[in-house]
């Protein structure tokens, strides 16, 4: 067998087992914080995987991905705000009551994130390269300032949720249950992404990354496909935002800040872009490194910075590429 493939299976297998058993391990170890920490890792991983879809497969380097995470979170936050407040979400053109049900809130948040991504993507995809990086940043900054100025919803202070969203039979307030929900969301998104990458659609997007002109001369209207891919990534980020809002029970504009977009890119690259699993590893590595390093020194960034440079210069394919020895093709 191909060694890269068997390693891929090994990483996937071991990782999955550890993730499945984590709440039990944490309980045995007497450290429930691990559950919180790993929920957070799973959520960031979800956001990073969604970013990998557009960066690693579509070649669209977005420096505004945190905006979609923020939108997803804000939908949760705003609905929760109106629930607490007892006020209607909208009174015109028709009375619209707020909700706290997962089955209502989450799909709505995902849908809204995806639509915003479609809107922003429709404009941004007219450019490419450096200009694309900057225009996505510009839109994210606009949304950031919009969130800051949402006085009703706390402006810069954000919105505090009084509880997590509600799901029949399962209590999301329980950290273990919530952890498994995060895990399920990540696994589903990974599986869908994996299907997507190898489907007809995925092929078109990957082709457009390599040579867009050639794709057009083969007969593909690439713009549409890239836009849909961008929206799907937006939906994934929105879901991550939903989970983030639920986990921290808090939403604020800082979620949309450009440094968060930068962090997501770092996770994707660190883990290995265009691999789907890589970004999961990247997210875990980043957050764990932060957790461990910051325990030793408050100046941990002075080590993280050169580490990132080192990764770029000497470990181009990221953690996943390094694990699989020779590195993998961007397949």
């Amino acid at each position: 067998m191909n060694p890269a493939l068997s390693l891929r299976k090994f990483v996937l297998g071991t990782g999955l087992v550890v993730l499945l058993l984590l709440p039990i391990l944490a309980t045995v170890a007497g450290d429930p914080y691990l559950i919180t920490l790993f929920s957070r890792i799973l959520i960031y991983a979800l956001a990073a995987v969604s970013l990998d879809l557009i960066i690693g497969y579509g070649g669209m380097v977005s420096l505004g991905h945190a905006a979609f995470v923020g939108i997803g979170a804000y939908v949760v936050g705003i609905l929760a705000f109106h629930m607490q407040d007892g006020s209607a979400l909208a009174s015109w053109p028709f009375e619209l009551q707020s909700s706290n049900a997962v089955l209502v809130v989450w799909p709505a948040a995902i849908l809204i994130s995806a639509s915003m991504a479609a809107l922003i993507g429709a404009v941004s995809l007219r450019t490419r390269g450096m200009q694309f990086i900057m225009i996505t940043l510009a839109f994210a900054q606009m949304l950031f300032y919009l969130a800051v100025s949402l006085e009703v919803y706390g402006g810069d202070d954000g919105i505090s949720l009084w509880s997590r969203n509600e799901l029949p039979l399962i209590d999301l307030g329980d950290d273990r249950a919530f952890y498994y929900i995060c895990l399920i969301c990540l696994l589903i998104f990974l599986y869908l992404s994996d299907r997507l990458v190898f489907s007809r659609f995925g092929r078109v997007v990957r082709g457009a990354k390599v040579n867009e002109l050639r794709m057009q001369s083969l007969g593909f209207p690439t713009y549409r496909y890239k836009l849909v891919c961008f929206s799907i990534a937006g939906a994934g980020a929105g879901l991550a935002g939903v989970l983030m809002a639920n986990q921290s029970e808090f939403v604020s504009p800082s979620l949309l800040h450009w440094t968060h977009s930068g962090e997501l890119i770092v996770m994707v690259l660190l883990g290995g872009m265009g691999t789907l699993i890589g970004p999961v590893l990247g997210a875990a590595a980043m957050l764990l490194m932060e957790e461990v390093l910051s325990a030793y020194t408050e100046h941990w960034m002075v080590f993280l910075g050169p580490f990132l440079i080192f990764v770029v210069l000497f470990a181009k394919r990221g953690i996943y590429g390094w694990l699989s020895g020779t590195g993998v093709e961007s397949e």
């Binding site: 390599v210 593909f220 209207p221 093709e329």
Partner: protein, 250 residues
């Protein structure tokens, strides 16, 4: 000559101070191999690009298969049946040979907003791809990533991709460029095999191949056609000899 497939009427294109196409009128019949020759910088690739829809002419018109296509984008033209190969090989290096070709097939099998089924397992993509690979003689290499192909094989693949969509018109931009003599012979045979089943516009420097393959030849100098005719007519045309074929006095 049989019926007209492609016609350009007075195409003009300028890039800054450079006139890339001037007064360019071509009439290409169905089933014909029409070669465009001329010195470097004569605007041959510019013609291909205008036909494929990558750049728009400043004025003039292009008609294909009874339809005005002057301002249609490249992808629409491709679906109408215009395929092209590139001067500098531009296959999708990370993909395998078969994936490259089946991607080309895919463009002609309806929309690609299909997210679920692995494309590699769709017979309606894979089978035509294998057929196209056979036509260009690459059937033995279908699992190899395109990046690992030799230069000549990539050019074959390039043609295979152009063929995969079953086009009516094939635009070949220097298919022999950078090939050794063996490769040139192979490519010439390959194109010879395609003759009659579809219409080909061929841009090529290798005169031996051009005179062997072409039904008619148009000679471009400074973007302007100075002669069109059969290979024999072109060979003896004094203007052509002076301008291009290299029979001059210093």
């Amino acid at each position: 000559m049989s019926e007209l497939l492609l016609e350009t009427v007075n195409l003009e294109k300028r890039f800054g101070a450079v006139q890339a196409s001037k007064n360019l009128s071509l009439r290409i019949a169905s089933g014909e191999v029409h070669a465009l020759i001329g010195p470097n910088g004569a605007g041959k690739t510019t013609v291909i690009k205008q036909l494929a829809g990558e750049i728009r002419p400043d004025s003039g018109a292009i008609r294909f298969d009874g339809r005005e296509i002057t301002y249609l984008p490249a992808d629409v033209r491709a679906r109408l049946g215009i395929a092209r190969s590139f001067q500098i090989t531009s296959v999708f290096q990370p993909l395998t040979v078969e994936e490259n070709v089946s991607l080309a097939v895919q463009a002609h099998k309806g929309h690609s907003f299909r997210f679920w089924r692995p494309a590699a397992q769709e017979p309606q993509l894979v089978l035509p791809a294998r057929w196209a690979l056979e036509r260009v003689g690459l059937e033995g290499r279908s699992r190899v990533p395109a990046a690992h192909l030799s230069h000549g094989e990539r050019r074959q693949l390039e043609v295979g991709m152009a063929l995969a969509g079953n086009p009516k018109l094939l635009l070949l931009d220097e298919p022999m460029a950078g090939m050794g003599p063996g490769g040139t012979v192979k490519m010439t045979e390959l194109i010879m095999g395609l003759k009659r089943s579809l219409t080909i516009v061929l841009v090529e420097h290798d005169m031996k191949a051009v005179f062997q393959l072409a039904d008619r030849i148009t000679v471009l100098v400074y973007g302007e056609p100075i002669a069109t005719g059969t290979p024999e007519q072109i060979r003896i045309n004094p203007d052509v000899r002076r301008a291009y074929l290299g029979d001059e006095q210093a």
